[in-house]
């Protein structure tokens, strides 16, 4: 491990959160812009505190303490068992640097993943519920799956357990993005669509209020994503210096091709490039490319980015009008759809010394675990939480906007008030 470089990479991760925050507030309505940004800050803050207090214990780290059980003569490592409240670090100053690095990385990673669902709940998800959901995410959902993949849990031990290659996720396509995307899907289902979105059962376009901020957010997200990919790959896969450079190149390539694919797809379908979908294509490329960031060849990354950018456009067109899923920021298509594609693509394109089908099988097992264990867990937890802290703002708040309703003041007080904001319906 190269500690200085790893630290710099970790410090870049908040830029990814900044980028995502700008994207989802820009794609929402102006009357909820301040709420969206404050929700992002609160989500990051709560995730950091809860992850240090609880999540870091359950995420653990490779070589650390873990809970195991025995099944059919095999020892299954299923949860970290480090001391709660991160007391292990403070009580042992001579401790190796590695746990401290994992903790620092986990704080930002848990925060970044926990704010992905905010994008799907823009304009109607209450702040208190966002905070509670972020706490749940950082305490339980993220640490459990991160342990399985990154802390020598059972998905990382498929070789000794079952003679298969280990499930690989170098940059967090599964651990951050697919988990966040699944949480976004759950939130979108629980909240339901924004009022006026499906007038007469036909999807109505509610355009984002500031596309310039969305596109600026894409640039910030690229820098943050490079840091995220490099930090995760250095910490959990011990990539070499040359592979770190390859990670940087691949991140730029995947984002670029994702964006270009979305530009071309929307040009072909709508006769003009769509800026918001192109921004989504950029992020989708980053997400898909992160699964194998330091190992894939640039050519494979270009292909993965192209598919991700095209896929995200098609998914948005399917989820919104056909499945009645109102996802203003496109989080489900971008983080879930492109993330799953990235995980699968790793099986097809990653260099391997063993048989290729075994690597594909391993990646499929990871996808099956995400869909079959993590999604039901996320959705049940969200539904329980919704009973105690209602997710959705009331009908008046929906039209009034989250800024005035929950914060008491708008983000742009000098702007002209939209005609429909205070009109009773």
């Amino acid at each position: 491990m190269t500690p200085d470089l790893c630290l710099v990479c970790i410090l870049l991760i908040p830029l990814a959160a900044t980028g995502l925050a700008l994207i989802h507030q820009g794609l929402g309505r102006s009357r909820s812009a301040a709420h969206a940004m404050l929700a992002t800050l609160c989500s990051l803050a709560i995730a950091a505190v809860v992850f240090v207090l609880l999540g870091s214990s359950w995420m653990g780290f490779s070589g650390g303490l873990a809970h195991t059980f025995h099944l059919a003569g095999k020892s299954i490592d299923w949860l970290g068992a480090e001391p709660l409240f991160a007391t292990g670090l403070a009580s042992n100053p001579t401790h190796s640097l590695y746990p401290a690095f994992v903790l620092a990385f986990g704080i930002f990673a848990a925060g970044l993943a926990s704010l992905i669902p905010i994008s799907a709940g823009t304009d109607r998800w209450r702040l208190a519920a966002i905070c509670a959901a972020s706490a749940l995410f950082a305490a339980i959902i993220f640490p459990v799956f991160a342990h399985w993949v990154w802390s020598n849990g059972w998905l990382a031990q498929l070789t000794p357990l079952f003679g298969l290659p280990a499930f690989a996720d170098l940059g967090g396509a599964a651990v951050l993005n697919v988990l966040g995307g699944l949480a976004a899907l759950s939130v979108a289902w629980i909240l339901g669509p924004r009022q006026g979105k499906y007038a007469d059962r036909i999807a109505t376009a509610i355009p984002g209020h500031n596309i310039v901020q969305v596109l600026f957010g894409c640039i910030l997200a690229l820098i943050g994503w490079i840091g995220l990919d490099c930090a995760a790959a250095i910490l959990f896969y011990r990539i070499t210096y040359a592979q770190i450079l390859l990670t940087v190149i691949n991140a730029v390539l995947s984002a670029s091709t994702g964006c270009l694919a979305a530009v071309v797809t929307t040009q072909l379908r709508y006769r003009k490039p769509d800026a918001s979908l192109s921004a989504n294509g950029w992020i989708a490329g980053l997400v898909a490319g992160s699964a194998g960031c330091g190992l894939l060849s640039p050519l494979a990354t270009i292909f993965i980015g192209l598919i991700a950018g095209t896929l995200v456009t098609l998914l948005v067109e399917t989820l919104e009008p056909r499945l009645f899923i109102d996802d203003p920021g496109g989080a489900i298509s971008v983080h879930l759809g492109a993330g799953l594609w990235g995980i699968l693509a790793f099986g097809f394109f990653a260099p391997t010394t063993g048989p290729r089908p075994a690597l594909i099988l391993t990646q499929l097992i990871g996808i099956a675990t995400l869909l079959g264990v993590m999604f039901p867990l996320i959705h049940v937890l969200h539904r329980l939480l919704n009973k105690f802290i209602p997710f959705r703002v009331d009908a008046d708040g929906d039209w009034q906007g989250m800024d005035v309703r929950e914060l008491g003041a708008g983000a742009y007080p000098e702007f002209v008030v939209h005609a429909d904001e205070f009109v009773p319906r």
Partner: protein, 58 residues
């Protein structure tokens, strides 16, 4: 909706069972793919249920 959730979990159990009980690569691959298909069926059922809730009565 409950059936959808149960199918998703059942699909994963099928995947897990194939790892523990089967040794041949072909058998494992088949059962893992079958498990994934069961999960996707569960996800589809849940999605359709939510769609009908959002659309409201005909």
């Amino acid at each position: 909706m409950l059936i959808g959730y149960l199918l998703m979990v059942s699909g994963w159990l099928l995947v897990l069972a194939s790892l523990f009980l089967l040794a041949g690569f072909g058998q494992r691959f088949t059962f893992v793919v079958a498990g994934l298909l069961v999960e996707l069926l569960g996800l589809t059922l849940t999605a359709l249920r939510y769609r009908s809730l959002q659309r409201g009565p005909e």
